[in-house]
Symmetry: C2
Subunit: 335 residues, 2 copies
């Protein structure tokens, strides 16, 4: 296993320290176990707190989006493993600014269970919470079972919307419903070309042939819809948009944001070649693209592949998407 | 060869169009051959123009740094190949705003030759030019032959300094000498773990064993100093800094910027683990780090590996580094 690390056992602690040391103007550890990241600058008082949590191995997810205009705290798990409920509890307490806390995270068993426990625990401290689970991965279950779908890269848009809504002073229920409505208009599908290697395991997470692509694979290597012969960028764009359009209609004058998310080792050149194909299809419908996001937003370490996310906007979500954000891996200065 | 492309022949055109379509608020093609990128917003009049050029396959290099506060134009070559002198000539003409043009590029045979020709051609139009070549790669030649060294990731700092100096109104000779002095204080060393594949070739650029690391490899797979057994992050940081400190002294109270540059498929987690080791060594000397740059700045498509760049700052270069820049892949808002 060829990774630039020290000891696999210290993988999470080492990269988390690197991030905090590099971005100490924006974030800090809540305490000295290096497992909870919070904003360094105090948010305004009387703002809804937005928190998340998740396993490691997905940078910039999850901790990279802690900062002004996005999320206020993140509990960090081991690679592909949820952090404990007690860490979540500590984090929620630290991110309660008097208006309650929205727990916004991907729909995975461990995270669900631990956030359930954590939100029950903080009730004893009279902290009001609500929970929202990212379920944007259309490949992980059919529409009829969409409540069981996994959360993938689309959660980044949800952080942006929730963070912006909280900054505008909406109350907890309003932030919840604005973010929920935004998430109902976000869909993602992923395509994997190579597996990744979990540091403490040292073996590839799955196998895939040299001339194949797995359509719909999850960010932990969860099985997708089908394994196909390698596709061109144009075929990937067409396939993804046709699947997404089964659930979200795209009509002339509509506005969308598009995220082309590199899963790890897919070069920027290929991400932009794919964006160009998505751009051509969407533009040909008379739909305009607002703030395209191209790069690595939710990865699987060195997995090769991409995901495509479509976020259909309305007047409010467009305004919230465009508002200021200053986090280590996501900045927007309201151009 | 598993790449997300359409046809290898259209690789450059496709990704360049993707970039321009995604970032049309900042950049545009100069004409319809898709080989010259210039700023979309007109720079102030009476500013020194800053231009560059280089082969493709290194995104965000080179075109990704066209924009306010950095460079004004970039001519795009095929993968790992220089663009023609006539493209450079067109670009220089388009980026002359009345105060002459600085051609700032990596020290490679094709680029050197073509910029020589291009700058001679524009003399007929009374456009004054000066040339500066990036030579930051300490592994590519010994100190005694440092004028033959290659330019690698350190050129990004040079773009930032030259662009900021030009924006402040310095004349061509001043921008040249400020940037030259900055470059004398920039050193890089690279470490490769896996090769990349040139799309039209379809084969890996070199071979390296599963348990080895090549110290000092260039961004086109040029041979380095030595092939070693795989190193830890700590060993890589120590080795790199000891080599760089042979040429740049780091003493208490000094200020440096550090760039950890992923060569393509090395995950952000590993880049930050490496940064953490560099941070520990540098901090222990009483040297402070200003604006660390961690991410992909100069890649080799899907090559795995990193480079480490140290930029020793003085009062002027610190100010120029911190000034505003707004390009597709590099933004700074003067925090």
């Amino acid at each position: 296993m060829k990774k630039i690390i020290n000891d696999a056992k210290n993988y999470v602690e080492d990269f988390a320290n690197g991030i905090v040391n590099a971005h100490s103007d924006k974030i800090k550890f809540l305490n000295d176990d290096f497992r909870i990241i919070v904003r360094n600058n105090n948010p305004k008082k009387d703002k809804v707190g937005i928190v998340t949590a998740g396993g490691s191995g997905h940078l910039p997810l999850f901790l990279g989006y802690v900062g002004e205009g996005m999320i206020d705290g993140c509990a960090i798990g081991n690679v592909f493993a949820s952090p404990s409920s007690s860490k979540m509890e500590e984090m929620i307490k630290a991110c309660d600014f008097g208006k309650g806390v929205l727990c916004l995270y991907g729909n995975y068993g461990g995270d669900n269970m631990n956030f359930e426990m954590a939100t029950e625990m903080v009730e004893f401290d009279d902290i009001e919470t609500m929970q929202l689970r990212g379920k944007d991965d259309i490949a992980s279950a059919r529409f009829e079972k969409k409540d069981t779908r996994r959360g993938v890269a689309g959660i980044v848009y949800a952080y942006k919307i929730a963070g912006a809504a909280a900054d505008l002073g909406y109350d907890l229920k309003e932030v919840y419903s604005i973010t929920k409505k935004a998430m109902d208009n976000i869909r993602t599908i992923g395509f994997a070309l190579t597996p990744c290697i979990v540091p403490e395991v040292g073996e590839p997470t799955f196998n895939i042939n040299q001339d194949e692509i797995e359509v719909g694979m999850g960010i932990h290597g969860e099985a997708g819809i089908e394994v196909k012969e390698m596709m061109t960028a144009k075929e990937i764009a067409e396939f993804a948009l046709s699947k997404i359009e089964e659930e979200i209609s795209l009509n002339s004058k509509d506005k969308v944001s598009v995220m082309i998310n590199g899963l790890g080792s897919t070069p920027l050149e290929e991400q932009y070649i794919l964006y160009n194909e998505v751009y051509k299809i969407i533009s040909s419908k008379g739909v305009s693209i607002v703030m395209p996001h191209i790069g690595e937003f939710a990865t699987s370490m060195e997995m090769a592949g991409v995901s495509i996310t479509i976020f259909k906007l309305d007047e409010l979500t467009e305004k919230l998407l465009k508002s200021v954000a200053k986090t280590p891996f996501y900045t927007n200065f309201n151009k």
